[in-house]
Amino acid sequence: MYHSIVLVKQVPDTANITGNVMQEDGTVNRSKLPAVFNHEDKVALEIALQIKDTYGGTVTAITMGPPRASDILRECLYMGADRVYLISDRKFAGADTLATSYVLSEAIKKIGTFDFIFAGRQAIDGDTAQVGPQTAEKLQIPQITYVEEIRSVENGTVTAKRKIDGGFEIIRCALPVLLTVVKDTAEPRSFKAKRVMTYKGARSLMEIEKLVEGNSLLSVDALVHEYESRSLFIKTLTMDDLHLDLVRCGVHGSPTKVYKVESVVLNSGEHEHVEPTKAGIGKLIDKLMEDHILG
């Protein structure tokens, strides 16, 4: 029996940037980008579910993000996660990877013991690959990054194949350990229809608060209780639940700042036009030979 925690993230779909997403000042209009489940995190969830299928245990998915990140937690439930946690607070906004790893590591300590933490290698919005190792360091546990394959899990150890520069290595590590996986490690399973029917109504604290808004007949506490009794409450951890150090969260806890962003400007039209004819190409080759670029 193994208990896994999976770190998941909702990201803007940077792979599908279209014209109206880029603004005139060169910044990105995030609201115009669809929010998606970071694919490598989905692969991480798949690996955790495979371990549960083989050896038994539990899978808990957690995300730090704004209230709408509940969307991907519902997807985790559809795939087979046993428990999900939304870690959300306005004070967490603007966090860089250091502040994020602080909040995540404190949340993990609160959630309980584990054998594995899985995460995608990196998220497509920043491509930093930093939050996993930063979280492992804060929890004082070992890590295996760039995992391509789980070879075996036995006697309290995991053996994994990981990518290295120019090749691969096989690593054995005692549990607990944090692993980050690359996209080819596994194909995420599709949603189970029955689970979709069951969990599409799952709601986080913020979503329940929204339901209550403007309806004097409802109370948040009563509604949370009701959702909990039907196993449809997405457990929600805020600043107060985690007893965090405010100066280490969000913008305050983030040493890195974006100083400026520029869209990639092309100084187009400065190239010399060469006719695609033998004469045109011949002149170009002459020029390149003269400049000793071709010999």
Partner: protein
């Protein structure tokens, strides 16, 4: 640590983690030392190389030629191969002890495994995958900052270039992509100070064991090629891609491709130029059937001369080219090969 000793709160030193495999340094480490030499001159600080391994004293001394003023050498049999825990613990202790102003790592798998742990433990700012570094005095949120490290990197899938700063933190850390900084050795007589640091193994290190390791030497050396002929998805098939090979052969150059060409199976990944491939700066880069997405341009725009061949006159690749040929590669390439062969006669 001797508590009587006064330790400067902040130094102006620039550190480079020197990544080595079997005692041989990664190119990116030397590239970073050369860059650090320039940064440290502006800041009035020293460049220190951090060399961790076993029997790597010679390598530590080699770093002087690339700009290191001092080498911090941690040499122990337990450090022969890179392992996360002993390496990160060693570096964390050094950073805590000496307070460098800047710590740089290659954005390799090792660098991206190690740097976040060091930054996390020392609560330093860390920026991933930089493509340029500068020192500048800037004003940010109505405060003036002297000699901050500008960490420049593509963001949002390469659609924007972001400049990241670490304004209020004593230590600025960054990983830097391979091949984007220039590397040149100085005269071999350049000397520096070699400082050996003792290493104390920890039993916790043994929870992780490397069972086996396979590494293939990369036979393709695109970075060193003076001429590169590179094909994209516009070639449409592996069969058509043969013309790329032929032109490269005739010109005495290397064959490369865009990510789309690699994904389509026209060419192996080891020959991919661009953000997720190799960064090159040859004398001549011929881009054939490559539209010129930012991810590709990031890997080749520093080339001395660029020729673009594309059917689409509005392809972004023309924007960074010196010579543009609008036409079908299947007609232009055979013509190019024929005309060039005739010139050689």
């Amino acid at each position: 640590m001797d508590s009587e000793r006064t330790i400067p709160a902040v130094s102006n030193d620039v550190w480079v983690f020197v990544e080595q495999r079997s005692g041989k340094a990664a190119d990116v480490s030397f590239e970073l030392l050369c860059k650090s030499h320039k940064l440290a001159q502006v800041m009035g600080g020293a460049v220190k190389s951090v060399v961790i391994g076993h029997q790597v004293k010679e390598l530590a001394e080699e770093t002087f030629r690339y700009g290191a003023d001092e080498a911090l050498l941690i040499d122990h049999p337990g450090l022969k191969q890179y392992r996360t825990l002993p390496y990160s613990r060693t570096l964390i202790n050094l950073v805590r002890q000496f307070n460098p102003r800047i710590v740089l790592f290659g954005a390799t798998i090792i660098g991206r495994d190690l740097a976040p742990r060091v930054a996390s433990a020392t609560r330093s700012g860390l920026t991933a995958d930089c493509t340029d570094l500068q020192i500048a005095d800037i004003s940010y949120l109505r405060k003036e900052y002297k000699q901050l490290l500008l960490q420049i990197r593509p963001a949002f899938g390469g659609n924007i270039i972001a400049t990241i700063i670490t304004p209020d933190n004593p230590i600025q850390m960054a990983t830097v992509r391979e091949g984007v900084m220039e590397m040149h050795a100085q005269e071999s007589s350049r000397k520096g100070t070699l400082t050996s640091i003792p290493y104390i193994p920890d039993e916790l290190d043994e929870v992780v064991a490397i069972i086996e390791q396979h590494r293939e030497e990369n036979h393709v050396n695109l970075k060193a090629a003076p001429i590169i002929v590179s094909g994209g998805y516009g070639l449409r098939s592996k069969e058509n891609f043969k013309l790329i090979h032929e032109l490269a052969h005739v010109l005495g150059g290397e064959v490369a491709g865009s990510r789309a060409a690699v994904d389509a199976g026209f060419i192996p990944h080891e020959r991919q130029v661009g953000q997720t491939g190799v960064t090159v700066r040859p004398k001549l880069y011929i881009a054939v059937g490559i539209s010129g997405a930012i991810q590709h341009r990031a890997g080749m725009q520093e080339s001395n001369k660029i020729i673009a061949i594309n059917t689409d006159p509005d392809a972004p690749i023309f924007g960074i080219s010196h010579y543009g040929i609008v036409g079908d590669a299947m007609e232009v390439l055979p013509r190019f090969i024929e005309v060039y062969k005739n010139k050689l006669k």
